[in-house]
């Protein structure tokens, strides 16, 4: 995957760029400030040197003037002897001041009286008129006058100096000075390696220069910008003392220039240094900085490579590891030892991987468990079927014998006896199936409790009625304590629970009795069934609530039940929101109890039709003349159902399908009052649809019962949706009758009441 490179490169580039930028910025700032400072320092130095040079030159010239002044000793007169003396003085001066070429003495009248010269002729008392000489004129007033510079023979720089006599008599000494002697002063001045100084006169002409030949060429330096600037400054043009940016030497090379005026001559001394030399340290520093910068950049690059690698490598490890884990290798562990968040991240990944592993293992385990459970359950069911088939076969076997007996002719009294036995057998079989199917329904979660407030006495009465005969038969005492309480529960389901309790109690008690009593316990009413039976050993207390478990007891009536009673109770109790309590002492007896919440309102209300009233009505006249429609695609079942209904006095139409039914109904002008329909009809038609059609055709929703051999939860659910009671084949006639009664009563009293789906109150 290509992303690997860019991150590394990114980090490396970023770190390098950061370091480089930092170095660059710091180097630039440092260079900038250093440059400024350096320049300022340079200019300072140069100015100092210029000032020093100016004072040197000025001193030289003034010393010269003073020397000339010493030679102008006061004389009492201008006589010949005085002149002679003066001549001597002048000759001495020529010895002392090699710069002086010619000396002249001008008397107060402006006449030359003496000339002493190195090169020109000596003259004595020439009386030449020098009264117009400007030097003489100026000096006459008592000031030393420095004349302008002139170039003798266009090459030698000379200057006249007029020095007044100290006698004050207006006599003047005029001296011609060869300015090549200033050269020595100027040559001394050094700035750096290539710095130099030079002097220009008041007209900008070069007077002294380390290169004497320049002077001898009468070089006019007024063209140089720095010279112009100096003159402008002197003339008061307001130019600042800042170094002239564009200062150049006569060859055009840029220089750093500073100047100082040489008073009182009106000259300037310039101290200059080639800009390249002046700035050489700066350039050296810059190049140093550049080298350092490059070196540091290189180092930074290296460091960044190393650093980036170190940063990126754990990330890469993470990425690779994540990839591997993602690919399915949950056992892969990422090893990152950076001691920071990345290591934590890696550990998180590892934990995640471990968790995933665990989850998978867990899942697999659970799947294995479930599969085991399912297999166990399957096995249990298979075992049960295997076991139950025996129990189931018994009644069928008995029935078949009985039916066979019916074939042979015999007395009607015997036949009646046999028929009764057949009935009983069928009933028993029906009960067995009921139990089985009930537990299935409960397992499927197709049972819902319909909680309501009702009087517990109704349920207790039903229980009493149901089990009194059985108990009597077995020689046991059954006592149901009456109680005046209203509870909030589902009457049908509650009755089922109690019925199972009492049934078990009766079954497992040989002598003594069964007591059903109630007790208030806080907000609940505890309904308890006590027996004096064999009791339940402690280690079997959990087991007995499991399916198909029956305690072995030698007196057990093997023909009764499949061991599902308490399993059903165990599943019903949560639906009611009730707890089951069990107490037992083996050999002495047991107590099974269920807590039901008390209703808030305890006053008597008109109870809904007490359930056990149905028993009475079972023998009533509700069914007589009832117009019923039976729909079933199975001929035998159809005939059987029709026959049964007819035996009860109903008027029955038997149809193979809804079309059939509708056709038949069209011939009657009566709406049916009952529909009994098989769920699975021919041609994929289902019973609900058929019922609906019939109801639609009839224009009213008469009670309808679905009959089906299919115990699947789906059927139950669908039936619940449409609120049709469901009976399972084979239908027990008594059950059917009871259901019919119930339905018809309900239909009369108030609109549809849902069916729990469970088999209604059992007949023993």
């Amino acid at each position: 995957m290509t992303p690997r490179r860019p991150l590394f490169v990114k980090y490396a580039a970023l770190i390098t760029a950061l370091a480089g930028a930092g170095l660059l910025v710091s180097g630039a700032i440092e260079s900038f400030f250093w440059h400024r400072q350096h320049r300022a320092t340079l200019v300072e130095v140069q100015r100092d040197k210029a000032a020093a040079a100016a004072s040197s030159v000025s001193r030289f010239v003034e010393d010269l003037a003073h020397q000339i002044g010493w030679a102008s000793v006061p004389t009492s007169g201008a006589q010949a002897s005085e002149l002679e003396k003066r001549r001597f003085d002048y000759l001495k001066l020529l010895r002392l001041a090699p710069a002086v070429t010619t000396l002249r003495f001008v008397d107060p009248h402006g006449l030359e009286r003496l000339q002493v010269s190195r090169m020109d002729a000596d003259r004595m008392d020439s009386k030449a008129d020098l009264s117009r000489d400007p030097g003489y004129i100026a000096a006459r007033d008592g000031r030393i006058h420095f004349g302008p510079i002139y170039f003798f023979e266009q090459t030698e720089p000379y200057m006249s100096i007029a020095v007044p006599d100290t006698s004050g008599d207006e006599s003047v000494t005029l001296a011609e000075v060869n300015l090549k002697f200033i050269w020595a002063v100027v040559t001394e001045i050094k700035v750096g390696e290539q710095g130099y100084a030079y002097v220009v006169d008041s007209r900008g002409r070069l007077v002294a220069h380390p290169d004497i030949s320049r002077v001898l060429q009468m070089t006019d330096l007024f063209v140089l910008p720095q010279v112009r600037a100096a003159f402008a400054q002197r003339n008061g043009n307001g130019v600042s003392h800042e170094p002239v940016e564009s200062a150049v030497d006569p060859r055009g090379n840029p220089v750093l220039s500073a100047y100082a005026p040489i008073q009182p001559l009106g000259w300037f001394v310039f101290v200059e240094q080639p800009r390249s030399e002046a700035l050489a340290p700066l350039y050296a520093s810059l190049s140093r900085t550049a080298v350092v910068f490059l070196a540091a950049l290189g180092l930074a690059l290296l460091a960044s490579l190393v650093l980036a690698r170190r940063m990126v490598s754990p990330i890469r490890k993470l990425q690779a590891g994540a990839q591997q884990i993602g690919a399915g290798d949950l056992g892969h562990r990422i090893h990152v030892d950076t001691g920071d968040e990345l290591q934590e991240l890696a550990e998180q990944f590892n934990r995640m991987g471990a968790q995933l592993q665990e989850s998978y293992a867990d899942l697999e385990r659970r799947i294995a468990e479930r599969t085991r459970d399912l297999e166990a359950a399957n096995q249990a069911k298979s075992r049960f079927l295997a076991a139950a088939s025996h129990d189931l076969r018994q009644p069928i076997h008995a029935l078949s014998l009985l039916v066979a007996q019916m074939r042979s002719p015999g007395r009607s009294a015997d036949r009646n006896e046999i028929v009764a036995q057949i009935e009983a057998g069928v009933a028993a079989l029906g009960d067995l199936f009921d139990d089985l199917l009930d537990i299935s329904k409960l397992e499927a979660g197709a049972v819902a409790a319909q909680l309501e407030d009702f009087a517990i006495s109704a349920v207790l009465g039903a229980i009493n009625a149901q089990f009194a005969p059985v108990a009597r038969e077995k020689g046991l005492r059954l006592k149901v304590l009456p109680v005046n309480a209203r509870v909030h529960s589902d009457p049908v389901l509650l009755q089922r629970v109690l019925s199972n309790f009492v049934s078990n109690a009766v079954r497992y008690t040989e002598h003594g009795g069964v007591l059903v009593g109630c007790r208030r316990r806080g907000p609940n009413l505890q309904i308890a069934v006590w027996d004096t039976g064999c009791g339940i050993p402690e280690d079997r207390r959990e087991d007995i609530f499991c399916e198909f478990v029956q305690l072995d007891w030698f007196g057990r009536d093997r023909g009764k039940g499949l061991g599902l009673g308490l399993a059903i109770v165990a599943r019903l109790a949560p639906l009611l929101g009730s707890r089951i309590e069990l107490r037992s002492v083996p050999g002495r007896g047991s107590m099974f109890a269920i807590d039901v919440p008390l209703a808030e309102a305890q006053d008597e209300r008109k109870a809904a039709a007490p359930l056990w009233g149905h028993h009475e009505r079972a023998h009533g006249t509700l069914l007589r003349g009832l117009f019923a429609v039976v729909v079933d695609d199975d001929e035998t079942a159809l005939a059987g159902m029709q026959g049964l209904l007819d035996s009860w006095g109903c008027l029955t139409l038997a149809a193979r399908g809804s079309a059939d039914a509708l056709a038949m109904l069209a011939q009657h002008d009566r709406a049916p009052e009952l529909v009994i329909c098989d769920y699975h009809l021919a041609d994929g038609e289902d019973g609900i649809e058929a019922i609906r059609r019939i109801q639609a055709a009839a224009g009213c929703s008469m009670p309808a019962i679905l009959v089906t051999g299919d115990a699947s939860p789906e059927v139950l659910r669908v039936a619940r949706e449409h609120q049709h009671p469901v009976l399972r084949k084979p239908v027990a006639p008594a059950k059917l009758r009871a259901l019919l009664n119930q339905l018809l009563v309900e239909h009369e009293s108030h609109p549809r009441r849902g069916d729990h789906g469970l088999s209604p109150s059992r007949n023993v």
């Binding site: 010895r95 090699p98 090169m119 266009q154 090459t155 030497d249």
Partner: protein, 327 residues
Amino acid sequence: MKTFSLITLLALSLGCSPMGWCAAQPGKVYRIGYLALTPIVETPSSQRAAFLRAMGKLGYVQGKNLVIEYRSAESNVELLPEAAADLVDQKPALIFAAGAPAAWAAKEATRTIPIVMFAADPVANGLVASLAKPGGNVTGLSFLQIRLSPKRLELVKEAFPKASRVAVLWTRNHPAHAEELKAVGARAKELSLTLQPFDVTRVADLEQAFARMNASRPDAILVLFDYRTLIYRELIADFAARNRLPTMFGSPESVETGGLMSYGPGLAELFARAATFVDRILNGADPATLPVEQPTRFELVVNRRTAQSLGFSIPEPLLLRVNVFIE
């Protein structure tokens, strides 16, 4: 700009100054020519020694990076052109010509090879166009004769106030001597002196001059400076000594060999200064733009022994002027 400055920096760091003065470049060998009228001997004359010393200070050492081709006319003026041509054939970087005759010969021999000359009055001599801008290929140091010789006469008069006739030894071939003579003549008039000019171009002329001086004795001899008169100095000094005549020369070298006085710039100094010219031209300067330098100091040199033998005592004013005494 920065690059240019750096290059300049590099160039300059090799020893040049912005003024153009450069010392000898390392690794290069320089060949120059030396043309002289007088013979070149093993022991260099004081002038030549001064020149070599100055060259050494500038970094040119004979035998290391300096090769000097000497050519002499062996005191024979006629041989100068040939010597000059020969030197030119050697193709030196420049030619140093000692003395106006040698400079003339060198100038005739080449118009391209730079010539550094030491000569009196080069402008008057026609060697250069002007002192400030020589033009051409000749430059160097001037000796200032035309201006100084009248002064020398004046000093003679000052030394010997009673003198009335002064012999002047000059050479016809020297281009400026005519002028010089004229100037001296003018001054002589002012000083009320009579001049006896003798043209001593050849040795024979000198002997003739001596003979004539013996006939009509002057009060002093003024020798106009020139390489020939320089060569003759001993002869002149001997003659003067024999005849107890004071002599005034143009250069101190003559006084060293027995002349009485000389007034003028020191030759050694000028020759040393010539080295600077050589250095600049060897580093590429154009001789046309190098101004001719004039002497700055002038010395009055007196030979005490000669003075004593002459019975000459120096008057005080002159004493004040004397700079150097030679024994």
